[in-house]
């Protein structure tokens, strides 16, 4: 018996799965297509690395045309690499359930015994891995192309800022995913709208300190803002001088945002899933 029920319990893949095992297997199963795509579909190298790199190059040349300090070029490279995560969170997390609905998978997810949180976690884990490959490539190629010199002041803090940034960003993505369950094609436009404004407010291509304190503080609700500022402060000689807050404060804030977004994702998923079922929106197509 490969899949089905036995004695009232679900079995998956020949083994008995329930509770945390089912949760873990569901998450792994959803992460799998996002991992295997790196091997099966090579075009991602062109579209996911070269395309963002081209945008990053344009911003670098704007700085070069105006004789900007070298570290600002490094800021752009880091911003370009981290923006890959934001794009992944928007399109492959936030908007993903909309596409799953369009292609008919969403109803299958709901019917299956696995938890929707596990599905979202699998999407997040798979997305994190594939995006890390892309971001690392952008960082490496961009740094080589433009001769960026890093001066890392604290590896543990840098690692903490990066990891917490990913948890907070993907927690936010999981929250978006459930909210987007209720949207139709307006979701596509809203995701599209969340690109440039966030790149502006988070200081993706310039130090966030260029804004006044309250604008920067407000923009910090998006984890990308504090993550970029902390990573830049820890990676460049001039980083601390152009920083918004103390790095330890920013790391602590990222930890807080991680918890808030994960809890918010769980609550909103429950409520919006119930609402979507009640309103019959899980299988409708509003393309």
């Amino acid at each position: 018996m490969a899949d089905g029920t036995r004695g009232g319990r679900w079995t998956v893949g020949g083994g008995r799965s329930s509770g945390w095992r089912l949760f873990a297997r569901t998450a792994l199963a959803r992460a799998y297509p996002r991992l295997i795509m790196n091997v099966r579909e090579k075009w991602w190298m062109v579209f996911d690395i070269l395309l963002p790199l081209v945008a990053v190059c344009a911003y670098v040349f704007v700085y070069r045309a105006n004789n900007a300090p070298a570290d600002l070029i490094g800021f752009v490279i880091i911003g370009g690499a981290m923006s890959a995560y934001w794009m992944n969170v928007l399109w492959a997390m936030g908007n993903q359930l909309f596409w799953e609905k369009e292609t008919g998978n969403l109803a299958l997810y709901i019917m299956a015994p696995g938890s929707m949180m596990a599905i979202l976690l699998g999407m997040a884990l798979g997305g994190m891995f594939t995006t890390t490959v892309r971001a690392a490539s952008i960082l490496a190629i961009g740094s080589l192309l433009f001769d960026v010199h890093f001066a890392v002041s604290s590896v543990p803090l840098l690692a903490a800022a990066f990891v917490l940034a990913l948890v907070a960003l993907y927690g936010m993505g999981m929250m978006f995913a459930s909210m987007f369950l209720l949207l139709g094609r307006e979701g596509w436009h809203l995701v599209n709208l969340a690109q440039e404004p966030v790149f502006l407010l988070s200081g993706t291509f310039f130090p966030i300190r260029s804004f006044n304190f309250w604008v920067a503080a407000g923009a910090s609700i998006v984890p990308l803002t504090l993550a970029l500022d902390a990573i830049r402060q820890l990676s460049f000689a001039s980083g601390a001088a152009s920083g918004f807050l103390d790095v330890r404060t920013e790391v602590a804030a990222l930890a807080g945002l991680s918890v808030v977004f994960l809890v918010a994702a769980r609550i909103s998923l429950r409520q919006l899933e119930r609402l979507a079922i009640a309103e019959g929106r899980l299988t409708e197509s509003r393309a």
């Binding site: 945008a55 040349f61 700085y63 105006n66 404004p197 310039f206």
Partner: protein
């Protein structure tokens, strides 16, 4: 043929605008382009200590504003094929109906042109009102601006048709093709910086692209002095610039017609018109 263009324009306008209330759509049309321009404005402000009255700023700001047409018209036409084939699944109906497909695709491009014109106008108005952008209706050289705009949009439509034709026969990443080409042109055509900043071995790509000459003509017509500030195309006169743009547009049109003819036949032979990849 004209009925196809007109109907496609109306359809495109509906698709672009009716997903939201008019107020939300207007907000969307304002926020996205302004924030996109604001990124460059802040970057420029940081390194020049807010010298927005300079020609360098006008060069960058106007180039960025008008480049919106490239992404919208050219990439939009390619995206129309993906949308109609994969999302709405109506491309096969278009082919069955007595519709001129190239004109239909151009009509979708016209709709994008109309929506983008709102964004370009708002971006320019913001620059004039708040950023010392030296553009004034009384100083604009309309005799250069209007022909450049018309020929430029026609040129973008031919580039869009070429991309849309290619999208007809590819499955993987088809929705990214327009965006990828638009991003590449943004870099190689020096939309927001002079071509001299690029490495010498990359510059010839920019000189081959009609978008480079179009943006130069638009800049010259809106703010004089740009041509003398950067040596990129300073040796080319206004009339020569328009002629060059026209010749490149005709060449681009010939390539578009040949590409569409070839890809359209391939798509029909291979049964790709109604393909849905869910990709």
């Amino acid at each position: 043929m004209w009925a196809s263009l007109k109907t496609a324009t109306w359809l495109g306008w509906q698709i672009e605008s009716n997903w939201a209330s008019p107020a939300l759509f207007a907000l969307y049309s304002i926020v996205k382009p302004l924030t996109s321009a604001a990124i460059l404005v802040v970057m420029f402000g940081i390194v020049t200590e807010g010298n927005f009255g300079s020609t360098a700023f006008s060069y960058m700001y106007i180039g960025n504003a008008f480049y919106m047409y490239v992404g919208a018209v050219m990439a939009g036409m390619a995206q129309a094929v993906v949308d109609d084939r994969e999302r709405f699944r109506t491309l096969k109906s278009m082919y069955v109906a007595p519709v001129n497909i190239p004109m239909y695709l151009m009509g979708r491009g016209v709709a994008r042109f109309l929506t983008t014109t709102l964004s370009v106008a708002i971006t320019l108005a913001f620059g004039v009102a708040f950023l010392q952008l030296q553009v004034s209706p009384s100083t604009v050289r309309w005799g250069l601006f209007l022909p450049a705009l018309v020929v430029g949009i026609a040129m973008l439509a031919t580039l869009g048709l070429t991309l849309a034709s290619i999208v007809l026969v590819i499955a993987h990443n088809s929705w990214l093709v327009g965006e990828a080409v638009a991003a590449a042109l943004y870099l190689f055509c020096g939309a927001v910086f002079p071509l001299e900043v690029l490495p010498w071995w990359v510059r010839p790509v920019g000189y081959l692209m009609p978008v480079t000459y179009w943006l130069e003509a638009v800049r010259r017509s809106l703010v004089g002095g740009v041509a003398t500030e950067y040596p990129t195309l300073a040796s080319i006169g206004d009339v020569q610039l328009l002629v060059l743009l026209g010749v490149l547009t005709v060449g681009s049109g010939a390539i578009a017609a040949a590409t569409f003819s070839r890809c359209d036949r391939l798509a029909r032979e291979r049964g790709l018109i109604d393909r849905t990849t869910n990709y």
